[in-house]
Subunit: 212 residues, 2 copies
């Protein structure tokens, strides 16, 4: 098994942290980012989706998308379950994971990709054509991240972990969002004490530290 | 079981079509859209995520997000499997489903929400504060949908269904995208014959017709 990786990318960290929570050794990680934070041409030739991470099995099957890779790993290595054990848990984990992604991670990505000079023609991942930055998306991204913190604060005020009593992949994505927000100078809002309590607890997990 | 529904919304259709493919009767559908295509206040009070669809179980558990609802249903009603039967299938179905969502459905939503007069202050779902339309997103959305068609054309040129030999939830999302694109005056490009072959076959499935 091999993973095509960009160490900095939150999407790649989601997969690394997932594997570490499963007590798996990380597989071979091939760094595919070259000059100017661009994907190396040889990787794009191999994987025209032009995104990371991508997992290649020993049989040569290629799976892209962080959560699709985690889904594959959850089936091969079911313990501990990180995507829910019962039908209701599976539904709630997926709901919170997707909320963290759509509001949190995409919100941060809107801020990052539309301001960073290295991404001036790369407003979206996965495109081989130029995608211009849209300055108005920076404010919209900030609003999106604010809503993410507010909604998750309400949940974490009465739930130990993001999707319930058990640590799950929803916590992994939420942590990766929190650290990506911090990189973009967005701190956990001061009116989100339950979120801060959760963050302090989750960020010292060995998987969180080792996946950086 | 009850589903809070907006009959027009592609995200709600994904769930209805999923249930019909499972040979399930549709549960009670409560329409929650009121004047001006806005969510009714009573629904937003009940569900501050302020999005559809939402499933409420007989025990009162509430699950939002189309794919989270499908995940719950897949576990309760495993046959026929629509999210993959083996680890590799599960990974590939999730990969293609997420690609259809991120590039196709969000691309169409960017076109729709940033042009329709009823959405002038609702550029994103799930926000109770105004989110202004961003005109530059219309062109970006069109580019995203174009890439969606191109990438799926390459896949469907050698794959009977979107994620392999078996019909899956990835086909459901892709069909909902195709019809949402058509609503936005975006037809299947003429240089995508494999996509057109796939569409002609999938759109006459009973689940596709009955979920409209």
């Amino acid at each position: 098994m091999k993973i095509y990786n960009w160490q900095f990318a939150p999407n790649c960290r989601r997969v690394r942290m997932f594997m570490l929570e499963k007590q798996l050794d990380l597989p071979a990680l091939e760094e595919v980012i070259g000059d100017g934070f661009r994907l190396r041409p040889a990787y794009v030739d191999k994987w025209p989706h032009a995104m990371v991470p991508m997992l290649e099995t020993d049989e040569g099957v290629r799976i892209g998308e962080a959560m699709a890779i985690c889904r594959y790993l959850e089936d091969v290595y079911p313990e501990p379950p990180l995507m829910g054990a019962t039908a209701v848990e599976k539904g709630l984990v997926e709901m919170w994971e997707r909320r963290a992604y759509d509001e949190g991670l995409i919100g941060c990505a809107e801020v990052f990709r539309n301001t960073h000079p290295a991404f001036v023609d790369r407003g979206l991942p996965g495109s081989l054509e130029p995608v211009p930055q849209i300055p108005d998306l920076v404010a919209r991204g900030h609003g999106r991240v604010r809503r993410f913190f507010q909604k998750f604060e309400q949940q974490l005020a009465h739930s130990h972990f993001v999707a319930g009593d058990r640590f799950s992949v929803a916590d992994i994505t939420t942590l990766c969002v929190s650290d990506f927000a911090k990189f973009n100078q967005i701190d956990i809002p001061t009116d989100c004490p339950a979120f801060a309590r959760w963050y302090a607890e989750v960020t010292i997990r060995p998987s969180a530290q080792a996946s950086r």
